[in-house]
Symmetry: none
Subunit: 136 residues, 4 copies
């Protein structure tokens, strides 16, 4: 078993931040471990004050459901009661919104990365760039 270390998280963070700079969209980037707990969170200058909490809660959703939050969107619409009730299971920790992807290592999910500050699509692209930068 491989734990998501701070060193790995830093690589993912840098990858996501570089992509955000490229897009001109300052972001908060959160990296959590497979237990859903925070390892690293940084807000770039110019990103809104709520973006760190949003980035983290999106990453939590990606880790909990083991897929990019982007692909959960269809499911939200067909199961609204499930998802709205789910948000109350651990209040404030889970946010179903595009912009977070799992982090893999050797085919196994060891955490997730979430971004907030741009459009949903920009957030998703940055999260993916972070996961790739970690070399999963």
């Amino acid at each position: 078993m491989v734990d998501l270390t701070l060193e790995m998280a830093e690589k993912a963070l840098k990858g996501a931040q570089a992509k955000a700079r490229e897009l001109g969209a300052p972001m908060a980037v959160a990296v959590i471990d497979e237990g859903g707990n925070l390892v690293l969170l940084a807000k770039q200058d110019g990103a809104g004050f709520l973006t760190p909490d949003i980035a983290r809660a999106k990453a939590f959703a990606a880790a909990a459901f083991r897929r990019p939050t982007k692909v959960m969107a269809e499911n939200y619409q067909s199961n609204p009661l499930f998802w709205s009730s789910l948000a109350a299971v651990q209040p404030g920790r889970l946010l179903p919104g595009t912009g977070a992807v799992p982090i893999l290592r050797g085919g196994r999910i060891i955490g997730a990365i979430g971004c907030s500050g741009g459009t949903g699509e920009q957030d998703h692209v940055c999260a993916e760039a972070g996961a790739v930068a970690m070399g999963g």
Copy 2:
């Protein structure tokens, strides 16, 4: 960088209150700073007892997302789960509803003003009147 002072907030409050009197819709008006923290909140006689908290939480949403809450409305409808879940991230602080706008100074957002007590459209008009009165 410019801080939102109490004096600026008082100007915004007076502008919003004058518009509310003109509309015949007593309101609560809240002014918060760029970090989402309260600077000034006043409830006009006749406005309901929950309006101060609603005004404040709408202003929080406008400051966090840096746009009038009115223009977020389409997004609410396409992403209801995101918004309902988001409300739990900082419990009781954020309310996505028409009636709040950012406050600008020199092109930069330094806070937000939120109103509650009338229809959504009346709340929005009063918030805008407040922002204009501050001369941003």
Copy 3:
């Protein structure tokens, strides 16, 4: 029956703010009505970002128990379980701390004023100055 109007609250606020300036201790001042609901809240420049919430929650305690929060202090020590449980009855709304007094009109309590930003004693003196300024 007399309601606490916004005009009365403004007088109380000004009285408390003047005393705070005299003491050189910038403060948040909150005025609530007899139902415990907010009428007016203002944070002077230089007061901390949490002072508005503290001022309000102290005023709530003074209104609920119909006495200055300062004189509740002995009771806290003899009934710790009561008071700590009480804080959970309306979570975050009630704060037992020196710095708030009831507002009277014709011998009847119609609200309360709470201050935060100085020492407990400074907060208390400003709250009293506010109540006096309202001419209760």
Copy 4:
């Protein structure tokens, strides 16, 4: 007025992390701005999963009360009810515990740094090392 940038926060983080390594006590370190909002948070390998939230909430307390949380300790003991009730005012955001200090720049408080993972005293020493490393 000076904003706490991510670059400043990174310097503070590195200073605190270096001290934590020296002490052999892996820690979470959180840096927040003067409005109480998160800028940077990192958990060193080996620190417990709750340490990031604890570090952040201690930093919030130091920023809100503008002093090291360590010097608040006497006050906790004489006013336990105030502090336990205060924790509910902004739920989950404030933790009164040793291990966080304000960050100064030109004599003005622009944020705070909080640490969690060691003893209270170790946490405090690391937070101070972070503030010093930022060169306030």
